[in-house]
């Protein structure tokens, strides 16, 4: 499996270039957010709530903080902490990104049940889109840089006990404008749309403003979230 990832990674620039050249005559648009220690922002999120699958909860506001740039094994990592703004949910996450390419490599999700804290550590492997799971804190992460337009397939490995289940996730990136494609978002300038899909399902969708550190809007199977302009 490692070999497969390696090949994919090696081919990534080439694939991106091909997609860009085939898609539009314009200059390829490559984007990665810029995160520095001390940066922070707020994200509003809503969740599915019982009993109606189509019903969404009252909003929860999450504060994101870039708290540290750390070195480990010769690599640099950016540490992002996410907790609800009023600290009412007793749910938080510590997200570890590789500084080099902003790939999410580890999630430490913390929650409280009956007064006791439970922490889950999820290893993400990097170099593939990561969808939020096992927590309420939105951390959907595409593969950066986002190249407009592009369509890339990635192998995502999930651990099932001691086994692995591998699936393909396609990340499609394009430039968009217009509110109809950005539910819940006010009209603004051009945005980068990221759609990650699996075999039969949407993994997540995001809309990025290149001037902002987090998608202005995103959604996955369990939540919708908006960057709060403060």
């Amino acid at each position: 499996m490692m070999r497969k990832y390696s090949i994919l990674l090696l081919m990534l620039p080439l694939i991106c270039c091909m997609s860009a050249s085939l898609g539009e005559a314009a200059v390829a648009n490559s984007f990665s957010p810029v995160w520095r220690v001390g940066d922070h922002w707020t994200v509003k999120a809503v969740y599915r709530s019982y009993p109606d699958q189509g019903k969404w909860s009252e909003p929860v506001f999450w504060r994101y903080d870039i708290v540290e740039r750390a070195q480990e094994g010769g690599m640099e990592y950016l540490i992002m902490e996410v907790r609800d703004r009023e600290d009412r949910l007793k749910v938080s996450s510590r997200l570890v990104y590789r500084a080099e390419d902003l790939s999410l490599v580890r999630v430490e999700a913390s929650k409280t049940r009956r007064g006791k804290e439970f922490v889950t550590v999820l290893a993400c492997g990097g170099a593939a889109p990561v969808a939020t799971e096992q927590t309420l804190t939105p951390y959907d992460t595409p593969v950066f840089p986002l190249i407009c337009p592009s369509s890339l397939d990635f192998s995502v490995t999930k651990h099932v006990d001691q086994l692995k289940a591998v699936r393909t996730v396609r990340q499609e990136v394009r430039q968009v404008s217009g509110v109809e494609e950005m539910p819940g978002l006010s009209p603004g300038g051009d945005l980068i749309e990221v759609i990650c899909t699996g075999k039969d399902e949407l993994v997540f969708t995001q809309y990025w403003d290149t001037a902002l550190p987090w998608p202005v809007y995103g959604e996955n199977g369990n939540m919708k979230y908006w960057l709060v302009r403060e």
Partner: protein, 826 residues
């Protein structure tokens, strides 16, 4: 050939071993086990109507009651629209919010009292279930075996937290919290056949069930593997059709937010759910006895876990102490609330000597009345009738009957406000307690008046007497106490009277007039304020005084009845009534509430066991605006010529009228008609005398001719050298009028004194009242605007000790409201 054989043998052994021997068997369990609870099927609607549980009040009704004061409040209203649907599918209910609650919240394992209401375990679990309607969740579809296996691995195996799975089949949804799984597989070449058993908590239990009833279901599936990678998977056997459909992970609400039921405050639910036992929990010995005063106490005998000699639960006794003085009476009633869970009531003297013991069966009641002859703290013990490890609920009705008692006969509910004024005219030492009684004579609440307070005014609700059940209020005090009540609804309805002293209770009372003609209606009420049940005989008389009907009614101790005279069978065509106890015990208090439905005027008239050959009307108001009606009954056994003597304000006789009244006959007439030869405005007072010493009783009503204002009061025989009006209404659009008569043959100086709340004299003024002179004045005119604002009560005293007689009227300047009574005659 041999080589081929060995190859075949090797392959056979490998395959055989691979099929026969489980390669791996693993078991994983969450850090805690969720609790079982009822799933509240929509076809029953038990959360809103108690169906399938304890009936009314249902869990949400109890919630509404403790939070908004009514059973049919917003939580129930929402629940009725969402949790009750007789046409729902028979599997539809609240399994998901129950599952979420059972994962996220500690199990409510004990009954608890919250805001005076008992919540059983099922009530608490039901409230948590309703509160988690609308809970957040993360959703994980389960289509493939690896999705199923992965959810188990991630949540129970890795996080060690339970997860909700829908294990319903045939299109039904059955969510359950899964907390444990065991998995094993056998492998043939590259296919692993898994057998995974999940253990989950079951919801088809009694709502009061405590603990976790566990079921298990086994699923079969396979993974095709290439090394460590799953290349294909599928369900096997019955699991193809019966495998779980999805999993959901619930999340607690952020504090300050709530679920779908907008009538539920989540934090309030948690307070209710965590209220274990009663507020006196821990009072399980003489030393730890909780101090009580008069009141109603919903209580629970709590349990504690013991390990020796046999592990189990033990139900402890509750202990309460009540400070008492000689001459007081300790009245205790206990209702056991559970089937088959009786209790025992014991009362001990201050030296902890057992005085009495009463066994009370499950769902039964028992009472003890203990006259007190030594001062000190008496102890009440409530113990379980048997040790079953249960938590019997019971209600304790406690009243400290003190030396001085009074009764406010009305305690209406709904939009009516019950205004009270109490005065200790001689100062205050010791206790004063106001008790709210229901119609059955059970105390509902008690309010100990703070020490040192000699005068107080307020609404019953402001004193915590917030459970009006159309009963009455009792006042117990160590010191003499006067009072009056003003019962009002809005700005147009008012009726009120003096507090009736317990000393006025009697064995024989007469209702001298039922106003039932010309559109009038009259309610009549009777209260047995004694400690024994009474058989009360009712004799109804027609307008000529003939006995018309008789009836016998039982009145339990403390019981109150109130009926519309028009719908009282015994009173059909009757004009008066006698009520008396067969026992001869002096335990009856009565009242009349006449009103005219075509107007808004109404009044309250205490009916006292007081009759004399001579009665006085100390004030007559008869002009273009006011009328004064007088009703008199000859309660004697013989006919009598009754003489009515009218006086003008100066005390000069100005008219006489005589009417012959047969025994039990009454006479009712407007004063101006009674003395047709006299100018109505000149009639100031009336003296009524039975010529042959037959006893009389009567009532007096003042009203405005437009019917809006009405006040009534009983007629009295004489007066007193000192009169006291315990409340003054002299500002904010109110006036207090006084009619005062010197019924004596000689003049006297009369002093009027007003006091503030601390019994400080604010002002004193003196007037001369000649023989039979009547004075009619407002308090404001007596003392001026400035002083009356801070004045709380009024004393009237004659200088030479001769008795004077008076009435008061409280009226609103807008011409709608009026009430009144005799001054200081109770």
């Amino acid at each position: 050939m041999r080589k081929r054989f060995y190859l075949f043998l090797t392959a056979f052994v490998l395959v055989f071993l691979g099929q026969a021997a489980p390669v791996r068997c693993s078991s994983y369990e969450a850090a805690y086990i969720p609790w079982s609870g009822w799933w509240w099927p929509f076809t029953e609607g038990g959360l809103v109507n108690g169906s399938g549980y304890n009936g009314r009040p249902a869990p949400l009704e109890k919630y509404d009651y403790v939070t908004s004061g009514v059973y049919n409040g917003p939580a129930t209203s929402y629940g009725r629209s969402r949790y009750y649907d007789p046409g729902a599918l028979d599997w539809e209910g609240l399994c998901f919010p129950w599952s979420a609650a059972s994962i996220l919240e500690e199990e409510p394992a004990h009954k608890g009292i919250y805001n005076g209401t008992r919540f059983n375990v099922g009530d608490k679990k039901g409230l948590l279930t309703a509160a988690y309607d609308g809970v957040f969740y993360n959703y994980y579809p389960i289509g493939t075996p690896e999705e199923f296996h992965r959810v188990l691995t991630d949540y129970i195996g890795s996080q060690r937290t339970p997860i909700i799975m829908d294990i319903g089949t045939d299109g039904e949804i059955w969510n359950h919290p899964v907390f444990k799984y065991e998995t094993q597989y056998t492998q043939t070449v590259n296919r692993r056949h898994y057998t995974t058993t999940i253990r989950y908590v079951f919801d088809n239990v009694d709502p009061d069930y405590v603990g976790s009833r566990v079921l298990e279901t086994t699923y079969s599936y396979y993974f095709d593997v290439d090394g460590e990678e799953i290349t294909a998977s599928g369900w096997e056997g019955e699991s193809v059709a019966t495998h779980p459909k999805n999993a959901r992970e619930p999340y607690p609400y952020p504090s300050g937010t709530q679920g779908s039921n907008t009538g539920i405050d989540f934090d309030e639910v948690i307070k209710i759910v965590t209220a274990d036992g009663d507020v006196y929990k821990g009072n399980n010995s003489f030393e730890d006895a909780a101090t009580l005063s008069s009141g109603f106490y919903p209580l629970i005998l709590s349990t504690r876990r013991v390990e020796d000699p046999t592990p189990g639960w033990v139900t402890d006794s509750d202990y309460f102490k009540v400070p008492m003085n000689p001459g007081d009476v300790l009245c205790v009633r206990v209702k056991a609330l559970e089937d088959d869970q009786g209790v025992v009531l014991r009362i001990y003297d201050p030296d902890r000597r057992l005085l009495r013991e009463t066994g009370i069966e499950g769902n039964g009641s028992g009472a003890q009345t203990v006259p007190i002859d030594v001062p000190g703290e008496f102890t009440i013990e409530i113990s379980p009738a048997a040790q079953t490890g249960e938590e019997p609920g019971y209600e304790l009705f406690l009243r400290q009957e003190l030396a001085h008692q009074g009764i406010f006969v009305l305690d209406p509910s709904g939009t009516w406000a019950n205004g009270l004024a109490l005065l200790h005219p001689d100062g205050r030492e010791g206790k004063t307690i106001i008790s709210q009684m229901d119609r059955d004579g059970y105390i509902q609440a008690g309010y100990p008046v703070p020490p040192g307070v000699c005068h107080m005014v307020g609404h019953a609700r402001t004193f915590g007497l917030s459970s009006p059940a159309k009963g009455y209020l009792l006042v117990d005090s160590d010191m003499p106490v006067l009072g009056l009540q003003a019962v009002a609804s809005g700005n147009s309805l008012l009726l009120g009277s003096n507090m009736i002293s317990r000393d006025n209770a009697c064995a024989d009372i007469f209702f001298p007039h039922f106003a039932v003609d010309s559109g009038w209606k009259t309610y009549w009420g009777l209260i047995n304020i004694g400690e024994e049940g009474e058989t009360v005989r009712l004799n109804a008389y027609d307008p000529s005084g003939k006995l018309l009907n008789t009836d016998t009614i039982p009145l339990a101790p403390g019981q109150k009845i109130e009926y519309d005279a028009a719908y009282t069978p015994v009173l059909s065509s009757a004009r008066t009534m006698r009520a008396f106890t067969e026992s001869g015990r002096e335990s009856l208090v009565g009242y009349l509430k006449p009103y005219n439905p075509s107007t808004i005027g109404r009044c309250l008239i205490p009916v006292l066991g007081e009759w004399e050959p001579s009665l006085m009307v100390p004030h007559v108001a008869s002009d273009d605006y006011w009328t004064t009606d007088i009703a008199v009954m000859n309660v004697g056994d013989f006919d009598s010529d009754v003489r009515f003597q009218a006086y003008n304000a100066a005390g000069e006789p100005i008219g006489i009228a005589e009417h012959r009244l047969a025994a039990k006959q009454n006479f009712a007439m407007e004063a101006s008609e009674l003395f047709s030869d006299v100018v109505p405005e000149e009639i100031a007072s009336v003296r009524i005398e039975a010529g042959d010493e037959q006893p009389l009783c009567g009532v007096l009503m003042y009203g405005s001719r437009n019917g809006l204002q009405l006040a009534g009061m009983p007629l009295h025989a004489g007066g007193s050298a000192t009169l006291c009006l315990p409340h003054l209404a002299c500002y904010n659009g109110w006036w207090t009028g006084i009619g005062l008569l010197n019924p004596n043959d000689a003049g006297t100086d009369v002093s009027f004194s007003i006091f503030d709340q601390q019994r400080t004299l604010l002002s004193l003024t003196t007037r001369r009242l000649e023989a039979n002179q009547r004075m009619a004045v407002t308090v404001r005119n007596l003392f001026g605007d400035e002083l009356t604002v801070s004045a709380k009560y009024l004393k009237i005293e004659s200088s030479d000790g001769s008795p004077v007689s008076g009435i008061y009227l409280f009226g609103s300047s807008n011409g709608f409201l009026l009430m009144g009574d005799a001054i200081g005659f109770n």
